[in-house]
């Protein structure tokens, strides 16, 4: 397969396959969770479960002060790489064009040099997060193969994207672009089978958490 054919393949059939696996898998996983259902709470409510659930979806974006103090690095680095990842994913012009093509909606982009800088910051944050995972006793203890796999497939699109944009490396730029797209497709394919699912399920988790508390009149 020549570099041109590879590029066409990753932009076409491979993207089809990755999109199909990603969406099918994510929807199956979400349906599986929701269909498990939960029993109706028969205790007399003190507050609203729905309001509590919705509130917690948002309130949990802000860490409590104690956690921030005790785990400053974890929280800050985590925030940086998440925000960075979303900025790069959703505010870079070529990416927006992709979403526009698939979803038929568009939004303003960030100036390219800012996305570029964000990429570097995000990559650094991810490296720091990995170092932290390897060195923090709790995280090292909890971490298994999947945690490292997920880290790898998260940083790959950022690194390959950076190389492709700056056309750095031994391989020709179109191959770099192909590798970049391929790395995203890898991310999409393993997404439903791993804890990357948290990107969707954390809404549900926070909702349930907030609903359980909200019903009892507690802001969680």
């Amino acid at each position: 397969m020549s570099e041109a054919e590879l590029l066409l393949w990753v932009r076409g059939p491979a993207l089809q396959i990755a999109t199909a696996i990603f969406l099918l898998g994510v929807v199956v996983r979400l349906a599986e969770i929701l269909m498990l259902g939960r029993k109706k709470d028969l205790a007399e409510a003190r507050g609203s479960a729905v309001a509590g659930g919705l509130r917690t979806i948002f309130s949990r974006f802000v860490p409590d002060r104690g956690t921030l103090q005790r785990s400053t690095f974890n929280v800050v680095a985590g925030y940086i790489f998440h925000i960075g990842f979303f900025v790069v994913l959703f505010l870079f012009t070529p990416h927006i064009l992709l979403f526009q093509d698939v979803l038929n909606v568009s939004w303003p982009s960030l100036p390219t040099p800012m996305v570029d800088a964000t990429t570097i910051v995000t990559i650094i944050a991810l490296l720091a997060v990995l170092a932290h995972r390897l060195q923090n006793p709790v995280m090292r203890f909890l971490s298994g193969f999947q945690d490292y796999l997920v880290w790898l497939v998260t940083i790959l699109p950022l690194v390959t994207g950076y190389l492709a944009f700056h056309r750095i490396g031994a391989v020709p730029p179109p191959t770099l672009i192909a590798i970049h797209i391929l790395s995203v497709e890898l991310l999409m394919v393993i997404f439903p089978f791993t804890k990357l699912m948290h990107a969707f399920t954390f809404f549900m988790a926070r909702y349930y958490n907030g609903a359980i508390s909200g019903y009892r009149g507690v802001n969680s």
């Binding site: 599986e32 028969l42 929280v75 948290h198 549900m204």
Partner: protein
């Protein structure tokens, strides 16, 4: 019948619901829950990380309720949960977790870990992996009516004693009273002053109340050990007594898990809503205060702080009431650095205090509370859970700290307007 791995795994399967599935799907092993758990922060033992305590339950979820997990199991990629593992997890689930729910408050993806521990205990108990002390307490609760083995005559003796001190009678089995008061065995045995304090306040506020001789025990070992069938049986006793006495409300006393059991889990355990209300004593006192029926004179000059019992504030929703009540009687009320719904557990809830095996660990974990207290140096701690109070006293003694631990209800009673004891605490 006897406990077995099969029954335990079945209980896991039965307990797993959408929230559990959403929680397990969301965990990214960030480790923040460890920093929210006093058992980890005071031991630095990574195995005590809250989410790790749920590992067997997670595996059952994955293998039973996810498409991919079923295949992974078929291909031998995941191992089934074994009895040996449950043995290993027993201390994690019972000894080093009070179900205080602090981890549930900090988890960035919103996992309610305490909710899952409660469910996991169902399987652990069914598999025969509950701590022996908790098994004993539960058996006493069912057979004798109290986990501590307190029988009616003991209560009657305390009531008589209180009546002598008060000079008026305490209503027992009064049909048609507005409120039926429950008591925890600890209050009866360790803090009988509570009974007379309540009696004085209710007389002062003109509350129509009674104690049932058939169901006075508020505690529920069933929800601590994690057997809903037994917990339901204990709740049914209260429901029956409330029905018999035709009361409008049942009062949950100063006991954390008792409130959780009767207020929040009760109707779900018995599978039907109550036809009476359940109020916590602090809720009732606050209501009386708002109505102007609870009046006090004088104020405590000592520096007081309030220790939130987890099941009453964080997990129960009674947060502001104790503060309003304390401000009524305390001149110098100070909050601990992390308080209210973010308060640190004393380390003895969720059955840990009934589990002798965990004694060293809970005293070690108490160091967290010590640090909190060291930051504000109060003269006395006020709380609203006799279990917390006993452990606070234990802990303070262990760490050589001299500090009285007071009941909020009793403190209020001491400053009742028109009370001959007002202002003369000692």
């Amino acid at each position: 019948m006897s406990a077995s791995l099969d029954r335990g795994l079945n209980a896991f399967r039965e307990q797993i619901d959408a929230p559990v599935a959403a929680f397990f799907s969301s965990c990214v092993h960030c480790g923040l829950c460890a920093e929210a758990c006093l058992f980890y922060t005071e031991t630095n033992d990574p195995t005590l990380t809250p989410i790790h305590k749920l590992e067997p339950l997670r595996r059952v979820w994955k293998q039973e309720y996810t498409f991919w997990g079923r295949y992974a199991r078929a291909f031998g990629l995941t191992r089934p949960v074994t009895d040996e593992e449950l043995t290993d997890w027993e201390t994690l689930v019972y000894d080093s977790c009070t179900m205080c729910g602090r981890c549930s408050m900090v988890c960035p993806v919103g996992n309610d870990i305490a909710y899952m521990i409660r469910k996991m205990r169902e399987g652990m108990a069914a598999a025969g992996h509950a701590p022996p002390d908790l098994v004993g307490a539960t058996q006493r609760a069912v057979t004798i009516g109290s986990p501590m083995g307190v029988k009616l005559p003991a209560l009657q003796a305390q009531i008589r004693h209180a009546e002598e001190e008060l000079g008026f009678s305490i209503p027992v089995d009064v049909e048609g009273a507005d409120y039926m008061l429950l008591l925890s065995s600890m209050e009866i045995m360790n803090f009988p002053e509570f009974i007379s304090a309540i009696a004085r306040i209710f007389k002062h506020a003109n509350v129509s109340w009674t104690i049932s001789s058939e169901a006075f025990e508020a505690t529920n070992s069933g929800i601590q050990i994690g057997v809903s069938d037994i917990a339901a049986e204990l709740v049914e006793r209260i429901v029956a007594a409330a029905g018999k006495l035709k009361v409008k409300s049942v009062i949950s006393p100063e006991c954390g898990h008792a409130y959780m059991a009767i207020r929040w889990e009760g109707p779900n355990l018995i599978g039907r809503p109550y036809d009476f209300k359940v109020v916590h004593i602090l809720e009732l006192l606050e209501q009386l205060r708002e109505e102007g029926r609870l009046r006090t004179t004088g104020k405590e000059t000592q520096r007081l702080t309030y220790h939130d019992p987890c099941q009453i504030s964080r997990r129960g929703g009674v947060v502001q009431q104790p503060r309003n009540l304390l401000n009524m009687v305390a001149e110098d009320f100070v909050e601990m650095p992390e308080t209210g719904t973010m308060n640190w557990c004393c380390g003895a809830g969720g059955g840990v205090s009934s589990n002798e095996r965990a004694d060293d660990l809970r005293l070690k974990a108490f160091n967290r509370k010590k640090k909190q207290l060291d930051a504000i140096h109060p003269d006395a701690i006020v709380s609203a859970c006799s279990n917390c109070r006993i452990h606070l006293e234990d802990g303070l003694e262990e760490y050589g700290m001299d500090m009285p631990v007071l009941s909020l209800t009793e403190t209020i009673a001491e400053y009742l307007a028109g009370s001959e004891q007002a202002g003369s605490k000692e």
